[in-house]
């Protein structure tokens, strides 16, 4: 892109994220100084999804136990789980497909506010880049993504293989009920501890082995900006060391630890209370006051 061209994504990134930076810095500082107090912990076993609650101002930590286990996550606002959730489109627009410390998980339209902030990551990024290139990382979003049993059947011929789609559905059903789970037919998940690079041409993903990079006790942490339901899946690709068949993949438990500040919940981002309407209601109302650009004229 030439210097004169307006870089919409870059400009939006700068403008939108700036007001929320301080909450990231404060929570990260509290975590690094050991000033967070453990309030709950859950051990996630392989091949099973789990649903759990997070409260506004808490910090959630996902920690490798024994080996590097890929996890897929989906977050919904507890007070309206069918209407507002952490949205990979808004998050990628204001962050990246490969997210790192400081990035916010924004909710869907019309809410568009930070639901979580990624505050800490102990995985050795330098080593990832050294081994797998500049475009590699271990936290990412794909397109409506979470592995599915059908794609394993298409690829490996294995019927009803364990998948993140199965496990996330299980997790949502557990914490929010079947109606909510069915509403989120195929949630786009946020992945951690999965070494990938968008390094193919045309642009596509490569999945790399994880053992050489991630160690026992590595963790990622997120600050929670509202009361949430979370659904987690341990991906059946496990540590990605051997993906020649589903049966050969090795999976590991993961520790989920929930923290607060020493004196209670941490400070969180305010709700910007957007004025844009729900899309269906707006369409039904005849799109009152809809803003548009210009229509081109043939020369």
């Amino acid at each position: 892109m030439s210097e004169q061209e307006y870089d919409l994504i870059k400009e939006a990134y700068k403008k939108v994220n700036a007001p929320y930076q301080k909450y990231y810095e404060q929570a990260k500082a509290a975590s690094e100084a050991g000033k967070l107090k453990l309030v709950n912990e859950i051990i996630l076993e392989p091949y099973n999804g789990k649903g759990f609650e997070l409260k506004k101002g808490q910090v959630v930590r996902y920690e490798c136990m024994g080996g590097p286990q890929t996890i897929d996550l989906f977050y919904m606002v507890k007070s309206r789980p069918m209407e507002e959730w952490a949205d990979t489109f808004h998050t990628a627009c204001f962050g990246s497909h490969m997210y790192s410390e400081g990035i916010h998980f924004f909710s869907n339209s019309p809410y568009c506010r930070p639901l979580l902030t990624f505050i800490r990551d102990t995985v050795d990024w330098e080593k990832i880049k050294e081994l797998y290139g500049e475009r590699a990382g271990h936290n990412y979003v794909l397109h409506n993504g979470a592995c599915s049993s059908a794609i394993y059947e298409e690829t490996f011929g294995t019927v009803n293989a364990n998948s993140c789609h199965f496990n996330i559905a299980q997790g949502i059903m557990e914490i929010a009920g079947e109606e909510v789970a069915r509403r989120h037919i195929h949630p786009a998940a946020f992945m951690n501890f999965q070494i990938v690079a968008f390094d193919k041409i045309p642009t596509a993903l490569t999945y790399f082995p994880g053992v050489e990079v991630m160690k026992d006790g590595d963790f990622v942490e997120f600050l929670v900006h509202d009361d949430l339901y979370a659904a987690i899946s341990p991906c059946p690709l496990g540590d990605q060391e051997d993906m020649t068949s589903i049966e050969n993949c090795t999976c590991w438990p993961v520790r989920i630890a929930i923290y607060e500040g020493e004196d209670g919940p941490l400070e969180t981002a305010p709700d910007p209370k957007k004025k844009s309407a729900n899309a269906v209601d707006f369409v039904k109302a005849g799109r009152p006051g809809m803003v548009t650009g210009k229509v081109g004229k043939k020369e």
Binding site: M1, E5, D7, L8, I9, K10, V16, G66, D87, A92, C93, S96, H97, Y99, N108, S109, C112, L131, Y140, L142, H143, A146, S148, S149, A150, I151, E153, E154, V159, N160, N162, S163, H165, H184, H186, T203, A204, L205, F208, P209, L237, T244, E247, T250, C251, W252, K274, A277, V280, F282, V283, R287, P288, V291, T292, G293, K294, V295, G296, K298
Partner: protein
């Protein structure tokens, strides 16, 4: 240096796509030889959604008229529109995030079959890559992508700006009814005529002006493998030549044409009829016969 590993994504692509390539190749030959028969055509206006019934074996063409208008497209199986649609996750895993001639748009789990094949693209891809590098393109997929009014309010401060999300909801209300439009999550769209470059590190997209790359009469064509609804939104970013102010974005009409072979519908990919179950029913049934890998043991 990258150590030896099994490239699961690449192997899956090789193994699965080969089953379906011949249908796209045959359709492409007929298109190149001028042996497709026009069935219908329509000029579509900016700032509103459009929808079409596209039958199995037909080819849809999107054509640039007087200016290079970005379009977002979605495909839903007519017999079960809220259950099966062209899914960007499966399509990306089996293809790329910058769709190309020969790539298949696979449906979601548990169906996961080619619904569309991208057969022809007259836009000068070489010219795009000359300027923007190997990650440049004009057809692309983004996580849960279609622009939203919420994101425009967040980035530009304009509530209720026209957006692809609004336009898709409009056509969903028209084609599927209000109830289904309200409860159904909008899947991610497939974009055309939008110059992008996945050049940022960490990975993200740069939107570049269309002006120098897409010319009047350029088109893309896709073969339909089942009876589908086609939902289209002209993106309010228009020709993307100036995105510094949404009200300055210039939008253009575009043409949609539907073709068949001279003797009727073209040959299409067979339904692989996968046996993997719906995730909710499978979880409720206690996951009978679920396949898993191995659990790691800490040394």
């Amino acid at each position: 240096m990258t150590k030896e590993f099994f490239d699961a994504g690449e192997e899956a692509k090789k193994k699965v796509n080969v089953r379906y390539h011949k249908y796209g190749e045959k359709a492409r030959e007929l298109s190149d030889a001028g042996k497709l028969k026009l069935v219908s055509e329509k000029v579509c206006q900016p700032f509103q959604g459009h929808w079409f019934n596209l039958d199995k074996g037909q080819v849809i063409r999107y054509e640039v008229l007087d200016g290079p208008q970005i379009i977002d497209t979605r495909y839903h199986v007519r017999s079960r529109p809220t259950e099966e649609w062209a899914d960007t996750y499966h399509s990306t895993v089996m293809g790329a995030i910058t769709p190309y001639e020969g790539m298949h748009y696979y449906s979601n789990t548990p169906f996961t079959r080619p619904l569309m094949t991208f057969i022809k693209d007259t836009v000068d891809g070489e010219k795009i890559r000359e300027k923007h590098g190997s990650t440049g393109g004009h057809s692309f997929i983004y996580p849960v992508a279609r622009c939203t009014s919420g994101i425009y309010e967040l980035a530009y401060g304009l509530p209720n700006h026209n957006s692809c999300d609004l336009n898709f909801k409009q056509v969903m209300v028209e084609a599927l009814g209000e109830e289904r439009a309200k409860v159904f999550h909008s899947p991610a769209a497939f974009m055309h005529f939008q110059i992008v470059d996945f050049d940022k590190v960490p990975l993200n997209v740069t939107y570049a002006p269309n002006a120098d790359f897409i010319k009047k009469g350029d088109y893309v064509e896709l073969l339909a493998h089942d009876d589908v609804y086609v939902f289209i939104s002209p993106c309010p970013l228009g020709d993307q030549n100036d995105t510094s102010d949404l009200e300055q974005c210039v939008n253009w009409p575009f043409k949609v044409e539907i073709y068949e072979g001279s003797d009727g519908p073209l040959e299409t990919a067979p339904d692989p009829k996968l046996k993997t179950m719906d995730p909710f029913e499978f979880n409720k049934a206690g996951r009978p016969g679920m396949t898993v890998g191995k659990v790691g043991r800490k040394e």
